[in-house]
């Protein structure tokens, strides 16, 4: 895992678009951490229920907190299944769910869920981790791939505009 983290950090430093394979949830957590660590403006996440093994670790919460310490930085998250997320138990939601203006959550409309087979996280429109099949943790990641990053940001913006805001205080 240490080797993988070193590879991801090197890719994030170079930001040359070189693809990285990602085969497990642990890899996904490392990538997400490095995304928060290296993002310069925004991080956008399309996820099922924000898997706590990836987004609930103390490391990622710390990195996200550091990222949000700059008031220009934003995190937008679209959830497919917000009803499956327990806002009290989920460390990330507990931390950022309702008290941070720079973190927004939305819920994907039901009619769109079935038509989307992928999940992704994209930062700064040029770096991403993309799961082609949302039922399978294997994914590809790249730092500095402008073409892929822009496309995913555009997909995310479209989905964001169709999605509804989630108020975790109400749902709690």
């Amino acid at each position: 895992m240490r080797d993988y983290r070193a590879k991801v950090q090197e890719a994030a430093r170079l930001r040359d678009g070189e693809p990285l394979y990602n085969g497990s949830l642990d890899h996904a957590a490392v990538l997400a951490e490095e995304m928060f660590n290296n993002a310069e403006t925004d991080v956008n996440i399309l996820s099922g229920n924000l898997n706590a093994r990836v987004y609930g670790t103390s490391n990622i919460i710390e990195k996200a907190r550091q990222f949000l310490s700059d008031t220009d930085h934003k995190i937008r998250i679209i959830l497919e299944n917000p009803d499956k997320v327990d806002p009290v138990d989920h460390p990330f939601i507990r931390e950022f769910g309702n008290k941070n203006d720079d973190v927004e959550f939305r819920s994907l409309p039901d009619d769109m869920k079935d038509e989307i087979n992928y999940h992704f996280i994209v930062m700064d429109s040029d770096s991403y981790r993309f799961e082609k099949d949302k039922g399978d943790p294997s994914a590809i990641a790249a730092f500095g791939d402008i073409t892929g990053g822009k496309n995913l940001t555009s997909v995310f913006d479209t989905l964001w505009n169709e999605s509804k805001e989630i108020d975790f205080l109400k749902s709690n």
């Binding site: 693809p19 085969g23 989307i116 294997s138 892929g148 496309n151």
Partner: protein
């Protein structure tokens, strides 16, 4: 000047000795074992796709590469199934997988050692027959050029096998593996570029 009326074999002794040394080195030294070099490179490359999903593990390219990672230095019982095609793999399967290279070199070494033994006998003035073959007539007269060429061929065979193994087969296999893994990653990247949002249903 060589007196061609008697045996010229003792004059070839230094060359035969060198050829024996090269052949023995090829048989004995582990650095000439190409399978391990291929195996190490492939294993290192497969680390890049560690924890690959079952779907990926069932893909032809993954099977091909895994087949290469499992090749052993001992006699392989694998068939050609799941082995990639290409000029380097032809040489691998034809020459190295079943250790044809080593058997050829072992036979050549036996021939060369027999020539050395015969040369010692001729140096001592013994020109007897072996299995009704008059060794003096075989190694005298105008046959010098033929035997000179034979010893050169037997001597350079292990050198050629090293070149073929190292520069063609190992380099080919390593390049194949790296290219396949890179291609797989770029296929995934294409998926990123082709991802699209569904139409919203009003």
């Amino acid at each position: 000047m060589i007196d061609y009326s008697i045996s010229f074999l003792p004059f070839l002794e230094p060359m035969i000795g060198l050829a024996v040394a090269l052949n023995l080195a090829y048989i004995a030294l582990p650095r000439f074992r190409y399978r391990e070099q291929i195996q190490e490179h492939v294993k290192e490359k497969l680390e890049e796709v560690k924890n690959a999903s079952e779907k990926l593990k069932n893909s032809p390219w993954y099977k091909n590469i895994s087949r290469m990672a499992s090749i052993k230095d001992g006699l392989s019982k694998e068939d050609k199934k799941d082995f990639p095609s290409g000029w380097w793999s032809f040489w691998y399967v034809f020459l190295f997988e079943k250790h044809v290279d080593r058997w050829v070199v072992i036979i050549f070494t036996c021939v060369l050692i027999s020539l050395l033994a015969l040369s010692s006998a001729h140096s001592a003035g013994f020109y007897g027959s072996i299995l009704s073959l008059d060794t003096l007539s075989v190694f005298s007269g105008s046959n010098f050029h033929i035997w000179f060429a034979v010893v050169i061929i037997l001597g350079i065979t292990p050198v050629l096998a090293v070149m073929l193994g190292s520069f063609a087969v190992v380099a080919g296999a390593c390049k194949y593996t790296s290219t396949e893994i890179q291609k797989m990653k770029y296929d995934f990247k294409d998926d990123v570029q082709n991802a699209s949002a569904p139409e919203a249903k009003k």
